[in-house]
Symmetry: C2
Subunit: 162 residues, 2 copies
Amino acid sequence: MQHELHVFTKALIAVLLWMCAGATLAGEMRIIENGSREGFIGSSEQFTGTAYIEPVFAKEDPFAVNGGKVTFLPGARSNWHTHPAGQVLVVTEGTGWVQEEGERRREMHAGDVVWCPPEVKHWHGATATTAVTHIAIQQFKDGENVVWQEPVTDEQYDGARQ
Amino acid sequence: MQHELHVFTKALIAVLLWMCAGATLAGEMRIIENGSREGFIGSSEQFTGTAYIEPVFAKEDPFAVNGGKVTFLPGARSNWHTHPAGQVLVVTEGTGWVQEEGERRREMHAGDVVWCPPEVKHWHGATATTAVTHIAIQQFKDGENVVWQEPVTDEQYDGARQ
């Protein structure tokens, strides 16, 4: 009798596991609440000045992109970098600067959207006197969505042609 | 002499066209300015009530997703629909409702992020008394990023279990 119960319990656990796996495979709508996605200050290995980064959405299978919200305080900027499969910046607050290598520095304003194609070396950040916030969405390629390079010098940031 | 000039002009045009094509292929950073992406009221074939849709970013090769900002006035909601490769909603203003088929209606607030997996039938919109705005990002599969279905009835919208 005890043996039979044991078998029954094992079978029940197997069925429950199968049901859970099924639910996971089918996928369920999920709300990731405000305040549950912990932000952090961008590392000085990738940023100059103060950049506050809040994860917005992770790469959820089969999605090929992830998203992060970045607030640059005045004077702050990313290092030069490229994206293997491109990036979109949706500027939500303030005014910032963005520069593609070999081109002039340009202003980006709340409501602007910036498309940066794959492998285009660039940087983005605040202006010297205003903060800026953007949602950055980048696609992965072979597991990578950014390749970091050298810092933006003060001379480059101040607007000399790169 | 006139003939030689003609040939020279043709060669020059060919070189210029080739240079332009090269520039396009290499890809350049592009700022799509606020006010240049014309919004529209969502069709009554896909929405109940007033939903204002502003394109945020198109699907740029090789990007697999596009993005649109939707503002639902109180009472407004999408039809039931699915996304073949999933959707992320980034709630930027207000409070809305979202419901997955077979589950209870849930609230979404500014700062919340909603992940809706592929093929999960759902709707989203404002609450009965508050507007809501979200950026909706959806991935394409075989050229499609949404499959529209029937309207959300008043009974469903008012919160009865689906």
